[in-house]
């Protein structure tokens, strides 16, 4: 208690003046924003209309993506907010389904079906995932947990920034930020529980149950104790996929070679499960939050779009065993935070200390089982990486209508040397230099079983960063914002080729937001970001199953010039409660992109041998969104136009140019029953692949087909119409609910965009299949 008094006192002395005399009610300076949840004035009746208005206003608030409380309309960047109510009413099961509806974002899968990669402005692995403001960037693979591991029932809101956000968020906020904000104890106030089951080709035999407890305990003295505890369990099969089986290919680091296909078969991956145990305990300004997920996540399609087929007998018949084909992707973390405001609310401090374990457990099918290779060929590499660090953010009000955001961070991240082992084929048959067993000689070689080789070498990096961002409001309707960040990467894998001293990265941003008429704003924004090379780019072992690491890689950099018009119109006119509109144009430049070139990673354009000729990408994008609140109904529209040019591969034709997302939540019986629909439309796009131009005689007399390295095609991936429909009912005064949702109702068989856009396809030579239809029904409630 003494400390809480002493700190504000010290700060007030440092800041000088008698500012302590000012109060929240009469601050003596321009209040930038209203209180997040304004209490009704005395005597004011909080009727249904006010409640509805308040709901819309709160939904447009940005609580943390901009590191300050602001509104979607006034935030200096392009921000979208998805609330927990929207998650439920639209029937989203995974975070990517929600992101897909945001203009500029697209849900795709890569590395077969192993990775869910939301594309931002057509760029893969460009989004920074934050859990309550803590970066979950995986320093080895940049494979974020944009998948079913994140339990959506614990999320209060998702705040999404489209465009770079490097000044506030530092490394890896390359083209987008996704901040999931967890529910507080008061949001739950009791126990919530739910259980559900679904099936269908897209998500077979999917069982999921969860329980969520939240309660705030008040004591006679001192602050409240808030406890949130969540546990969930999910057991499922990966999507059903079939196609011609790859019998032989030349995975990395082999030189490109032919791919041999056998008969058509179906994937039968092993069953998957995920257990999530997470929660938070708050006592006054101190919060301890944690997540301890564990499980095994098998997929039906592996690297190179190889189907995960279980073992077969000598006749080529399935034995009934399933195939282990997993990339288990879990983020385990412990965060201790302190957050409070001082000096009559004028100074805010938010400090966090955290430790994160990134589990990236790979057990992938490389060649599926066949009569020639009865158990197939798989490799196993349990990759674990870690990050520990502290972050510090503050905001304060300065004279002359300035508001200053400031802060910094220090963290250390590392990966230990990880071994890869092979199963399914004896070491002597592998196209690798397998290590010899003890006592063996080159004349009579005996190899170590499993051919253990380094998958990735040990690597580490220490990062120190500081930032300042000032918001100046010369007149009430105009906000100017400018910020700077300096970030240094030190240690064995410190930043290379950065702007200052080789290891320091300087970032800047500036914006103007003009409330030019009523609820209409114009926004012009310049933002920068960067993405340092992940350890798998710098320290992968090119003599195993990866491309060679390159320890001389520089940071990838992003810059965006963005303009936005937004408006909130037609408030309470007839049946219309509000119409929200926004239209953005952005020109984004990506520089020093890391690409695969000549068997290794490089920042150099694929068409050049000059190291100074860096790989670049220029993106024109138009993003528009509309949301109409009509009585109890909500209609939404999102539109994205993308035009992307690269300096080494020409026009990026593998990303759809037009994407439309239509959504509706229609109340059928007020307070009891509502229906939802989402229709995602994309125009066609191309995928550079190989053709099967020859039939070949296989051992045993069967014949297969062969796709030589030189037989290329641009597969024309057709336009898509992904329609999701659902019903949700609430009863017993909202204490119970039931829902059923159907996904990909039209059973559109489609393929994901090829994010590599490799014009001489080696990593991905066939279209990457996407899930078919599925349904999920669940019941739940808050009985206590």
């Amino acid at each position: 208690m003494t400390g809480r008094v002493a700190l504000p006192l010290l700060l007030s002395l440092l800041l000088g003046e008698a500012r302590a005399q000012r109060t929240v009610a009469d601050p003596g300076y321009e209040v930038l924003l209203p209180d997040p949840d304004p209490a009704p004035a005395p005597g004011q009746k909080d009727d249904a209309g006010d409640a509805a208005e308040s709901e819309l206003t709160i939904a447009s608030r940005v609580l943390s993506a901009a590191k300050q409380v602001t509104t979607v309309q006034e935030a200096p960047s392009i921000v979208t907010v998805i609330t927990s109510d929207e998650i439920q009413s639209r029937g989203y099961r995974f975070i990517n389904q929600a992101l897909m509806t945001i203009p500029g974002w697209l849900d795709v899968q890569g590395a077969g079906n192993h990775l869910n990669i939301p594309l931002v402005r057509g760029t893969a692995q460009a989004a920074l995932l934050l859990r309550d403001g803590v970066s979950m960037f995986d320093p080895v693979l940049n494979a974020a947990q944009f998948n079913r591991v994140i339990p959506l029932e614990t999320i209060k809101r998702i705040e999404v920034v489209t465009g770079p956000g490097g000044v506030l968020w530092g490394a890896n906020s390359f083209l987008g930020i996704v901040n999931t904000i967890s529910k507080e104890a008061e949001d739950i106030d009791g126990i919530e529980a739910g259980v559900g089951y679904g099936d269908g080709d897209g998500s077979p035999q999917d069982f999921r149950a969860f329980a969520l407890f939240g309660k705030a305990f008040a004591f006679r003295k001192g602050p409240k104790l808030r406890i949130v505890q969540h546990i969930s369990y999910e057991n499922y099969l990966a999507s059903r996929q079939s196609g011609p089986l790859i019998l032989q290919r030349s995975p990395a680091p082999q030189p490109p070679g032919p791919t041999v296909f056998g008969p058509t078969g179906s994937a039968d991956p092993s069953r998957s499960y995920i257990v999530n145990i997470d929660g938070r305990i708050s006592y006054g300004p101190v919060t301890l939050s944690y997540a301890l997920p564990f499980g095994e996540m098998n997929n039906s399609v592996s690297f190179g779009n190889t189907l995960a087929v279980g073992p077969v007998d000598a006749m080529g018949e399935r034995t009934g065993e399933t195939a282990v084909n997993r990339l288990t992707l879990l983020d385990r973390y412990l965060v201790l935070g302190y957050k409070s405001r001082f000096l009559g609310e004028r100074l805010g401090l938010d400090a966090k200390a955290y430790g994160i374990e990134f589990v990236r457990d790979i057990g992938a099918v490389t060649v599926p089982a066949s009569a020639q290779l009865p158990r197939g060929l798989s490799f196993f590499a349990p990759v674990r990486s870690y990050r520990v660090g502290v972050t510090f953010d503050g905001d304060t009000t300065l004279p002359l209508r300035n508001r200053l955001l400031f802060g910094g961070e220090v963290f250390h991240e590392w990966v230990r040397e990880t071994e890869v082992r092979f199963e399914g084929a004896p070491p002597e048959r592998l196209p690798l230099a397998c290590p010899l067993a003890a006592g063996s000689t080159l004349e009579t070689p005996v190899y170590q079983p499993g051919c253990p080789l380094p998958f990735i070498f040990g690597a580490s990096r220490t990062v120190i960063a500081a930032y300042l961002s000032d918001q100046f409001r010369p007149i009430p309707r105009l906000v100017l914002d400018a910020g700077l960040r300096y970030q240094v990467g030190l240690g064995a894998r410190g930043y290379r080729k950065a702007l200052i001293g080789g290891s320091g990265q300087l970032l800047g941003s500036a914006s103007v937001v003009w409330n030019f008429y009523a609820d209409m704003h114009l926004k012009v924004n310049y933002a920068t970001g960067f993405r340092p090379p992940v350890f798998n780019n710098t320290d992968s072992n090119g003599a195993a199953v990866q491309f060679s690491g390159n320890r001389d890689l520089g940071n990838e950099r992003s810059r965006a010039f963005q303009a936005e018009w937004n408006a909130r119109l037609l408030k309470n006119i007839g049946p219309i409660r509000e119409l929200q509109l926004r239209a953005d144009y952005s020109y984004t430049l990506l520089d020093s992109l890391i690409i695969v070139s000549n068997g290794s990673y490089s920042n150099t354009a694929a068409t050049s041998r000059n190291p100074d000729d860096r790989a670049r990408r220029a993106i024109h994008s138009v993003e528009a969104a509309a949301r109409l609140y009509l009585r109890d109904h909500t209609l939404s529209l999102g539109y994205t136009f993308l035009h992307i040019d690269t300096n080494d591969r020409g026009r990026l034709r593998s990303i759809p140019q037009h994407v439309v997302s239509l959504g509706a939540v229609v109340t059928l019986v007020p307070t009891y029953l509502e229906a939802n629909a989402t229709l995602n439309l994309t125009t066609g796009y191309d995928d550079p692949n190989r053709l099967r131009t020859s039939a070949v005689l296989l051992p045993g007399g069967a014949f297969g087909t062969l796709a030589p390295y030189s037989d290329l095609t641009f597969d024309r991936l057709p336009p898509q119409a992904i329609l999701n429909l659902g019903l949700r009912s609430r009863f017993l005064r909202n204490r119970m609910w039931a829902s059923v949702n159907f996904y990909n109702v039209l059973n559109q068989a489609y393929a994901h965009p090829d994010v590599f856009y490799d014009l001489t396809p080696t990593l991905e030579t066939t279209p990457t299949p996407a899930p078919g239809w599925s349904f999920f029904m669940q019941v739940g409630g808050r009985p206590w």
Partner: protein, 344 residues
């Protein structure tokens, strides 16, 4: 200026020639009236009030919309229902700009059932490899041979071409009305899977209607201006690959009659069709459907239609169609039944 742009567009489309090799043609789908002032498939000479908005949702199914005589792998010709069925969802929105002028947009998606035996194969092995010839070339058969080689099969679902329309009321008397409609469809559908046109199309339409005491009669006459497309028998051993069907510019016509049976129920008959006026191996088509319209609330209209194709010679004659839908306009009485049985 706008008129000149439309003229240029028409000329470009008129002069556009058919492609040499294709694997599909656009199926003649349902083209519902752009607003709920029409019957369902036949437009009426009525427009929305100023700033009036409305929406319509249709669910449709068409059985056997494409039936062709195709040559199979053995060289024998046989009749095949290449597209065995088409299920579709239409979403339409309209907005009145003035009391005499409205704009409308239509989004449509469809799912197809194909006759797998008739499609052919993407990767077919003409002769099995042997010890003497271990490597033999592959080929594509059936409709897959109509395009450069692809790894992607025909799509089972996808968007159809969306459309934008402008409807202007020219004359509206107590009994008689005349309007004009111009629609442009955008080639965003999957033209390689019978789900879209090869290019944008322009569809001018003249609309007339007569309102009698319990009866309304509406007639439409117009054209569909498009780049031609054709489908050839890729399985044929004739090196010229005989033309199976082509689609070019067409005359469009529609006629509908609706009668009021009860305060909330009307019934009617609606027919529409096309007659080609360019291209070879083209076919006329006429569909006739019986309709039931229900008006449960002032702002709501529900309807069900069922019928089928009438021209037996046409490969595009369907066996039957079913259409269910709902119209909703929160500000108007657009869905209200009038004394003539149709919308007011």
């Amino acid at each position: 200026m706008a008129g000149r742009a439309v003229l240029y567009l028409s000329l470009v489309l008129v002069w556009a020639g058919p492609a040499a090799a294709e694997r599909s043609v656009a199926l003649p789908g349902l083209s519902p009236a752009v607003d709920s002032y029409g019957l369902v498939l036949v437009e009426r000479a009525q427009t929305a009030r100023r700033w009036e908005v409305g929406a319509q949702l249709f669910l449709g199914y068409t059985h056997s919309p494409l039936r062709l005589s195709l040559t199979d792998a053995s060289g024998a010709a046989g009749q095949h229902n290449l597209v065995r069925g088409q299920a579709s969802v239409h979403l339409q929105l309209w907005l009145g700009l003035w009391s005499f002028l409205e704009v409308a947009a239509s989004l449509r998606v469809a799912a197809h059932l194909y006759d797998e035996d008739a499609l052919g194969e993407q990767v077919a092995v003409a002769a099995p490899p042997s010890m003497m010839a271990p490597l033999v070339p592959t080929t594509a058969t059936g409709v897959y041979a109509g395009e450069p080689r692809q790894n992607t099969p025909l799509a089972g679902a996808g968007p159809l071409d969306p459309s934008l329309s402008v409807k202007g009321r020219i004359y509206r008397g107590r009994r008689f009305g005349v309007a004009a409609l111009a629609t442009v469809t955008l080639p965003l559908g999957n033209e390689a899977s019978f789900m879209g046109e090869k290019s944008a199309t322009f569809r001018p339409l003249l609309v007339g209607d007569v309102l009698l005491s319990r009866l309304s009669v509406a007639a439409n006459l117009g054209a569909i201006i498009r780049a031609g497309s054709e489908l050839r028998d890729q399985g044929s051993r004739d090196p010229m690959k005989p033309l199976l069907i082509s689609i070019g510019h067409e005359l469009y016509f529609a006629l509908g009659v609706a009668a009021r049976l009860h305060r909330v129920i009307s019934a009617g008959v609606e027919a529409f069709g096309t007659a080609p006026f360019s291209g070879e191996k083209t076919f006329a088509n006429v569909d006739m459907l019986g309709a039931l319209y229900i008006y449960p609330r002032e702002t709501l209209r529900m309807f069900a239609l069922s019928g089928g194709g009438l021209i037996p010679e046409s490969p595009l004659k369907n066996d039957f169609r079913v259409l269910l839908g709902i119209s909703w306009s929160p500000r108007s009485g657009a869905a209200q039944p009038s004394s003539d049985g149709g919308p007011p």
